[in-house]
């Protein structure tokens, strides 16, 4: 894939290394001359010096028709401008940016940015999910938090112990996709009986998470 990385310091550095390893073709633009030289010498690639929120810089860096653009400048408004130029004038299919103000996540999505990442926003979401139930060991979110994969270890006092899967009052949009019992993995059917110390992998939507977990525990 042809990927444009606009701005960013350590995050750009890290992304360049990881994307080069996967053999993507990169166009790197940075506004800081010294950082350009650093990136260029460390990764042995050409780095374009200039402000990526200027149209002529994007034009000169020949970003047109790239597959993905990632805007990492510390200025949210500049990142939006970069992403909008990319979409509207340079025919770039997918644009991603980081924002400092977590409130901009929803705004930028409404304004046409495909993926908006805010560290604060993600931490807040994570804490909210993690504190739903203390017994929840891990929650992994997939597809922009649309799907949650929850890992629950069944305690001996849980109501589900000895019950069949079909006897649990599970909400819609939730399923026990896998049970890990000792060293074995099994995909449960309706008649599978849950035992204490089973590790359940429960796939849920965010709204059904609490109900599903409660059905296992209470």
């Amino acid at each position: 894939m042809k990927i444009v990385i606009a701005g960013g310091r350590d995050e750009a550095d890290f992304l360049i290394a990881s994307l080069l390893k996967k053999r993507h073709k990169l166009i790197v633009i940075n506004n800081d001359k010294a950082w350009c030289e650093h990136l260029s010498s460390v990764h042995n690639i050409e780095v374009f010096f200039g402000n990526p929120s200027k149209k002529y810089i994007l034009r000169d860096a020949e970003v047109a028709d790239s597959d993905v653009l990632i805007a990492l400048t510390p200025n949210d408004a500049a990142n939006l401008a970069v992403c909008q130029y990319a979409k509207k004038q340079f025919n770039i299919k997918k644009v991603i940016c980081t924002v400092s103000n977590p409130k901009n996540v929803d705004i930028f999505k409404q304004l046409g940015v495909d993926t908006v990442i805010s560290a604060t926003y993600m931490i807040a979401e994570y804490i909210e999910q993690a504190t739903t139930i203390e017994n929840l060991i891990k929650t992994l979110s997939i597809e922009d938090e649309k799907v949650l994969l929850n890992e629950v270890i069944v305690g001996e006092d849980y109501s589900c112990v000895g019950k069949k899967v079909m006897e649990l009052s599970f909400p819609s949009n939730a399923i026990i996709s896998c049970i890990i019992r000792g060293k074995n993995m099994l995909v449960p059917g309706g008649a599978t009986v849950i035992e204490a110390n089973d590790k359940l992998l429960v796939m849920t939507s965010p709204d059904s998470q609490k109900k599903a977990i409660n059905a296992i525990i209470k």
């Binding site: 929120s53 200027k54 149209k55 002529y56 200025n75 949210d76 408004a77 500049a78 939006l80 401008a81 909008q84 130029y85 509207k88 004038q89 103000n101 409130k103 901009n104 705004i107 409404q110 304004l111």
Partner: protein, 143 residues
């Protein structure tokens, strides 16, 4: 009784302060927003509108400026990208009817022109004026 038109102005630099003075003289109810409190010193003594210290790209600040009730917003901060972001929030999220911004880089116009946002570019205005002056100079010389 005529209800005064409400206008939100974001950016209290030379242009913002000048506009605030003119619009309030014309009878508008002006609410001016700037991140820097000291910027409001540019406003004349007789300015009677409101001042809000805060980031004009922040929805909460815009709400405190009663953006849900105004139908005019002007963004004239020193940064083109900031003006463009504020204008898009005003148009797309709060459906403000008339939104105008100042940009120094005329190519930024292309980013927002399809959203019903009016754009003023001082460079283009100055170019028009200069070429008018130059060509009218020719006419005088010919006479």
């Amino acid at each position: 009784m005529l209800v005064a038109k409400k206008v939100i102005l974001v950016g209290c630099g030379r242009l913002g302060a000048g506009l605030a003075e003119r619009l309030s003289d014309e009878g508008c109810h002006v609410i001016i927003v700037d991140t820097d409190k000291t910027a409001f010193r540019r406003l004349p003594d007789n300015y009677s509108g409101f001042e809000i210290t805060g980031d004009g790209t922040d929805m909460e600040i815009l709400k405190s400026a009663e953006i849900e009730e105004v139908d005019k917003l002007i963004a004239v901060t020193g940064d083109d990208n900031t003006n463009s972001l504020i204008a898009q929030i005003a148009r797309k999220i709060f459906s403000v009817k008339d939104v105008c911004i100042r940009v120094h880089d005329e190519s930024k116009k292309e980013l927002v022109s399809d959203m019903g946002i009016s754009v003023v570019c001082p460079k283009l205005l100055a170019m028009d004026e200069f070429s008018r002056l130059i060509s009218s100079g020719d006419k005088i010389a010919e006479e």
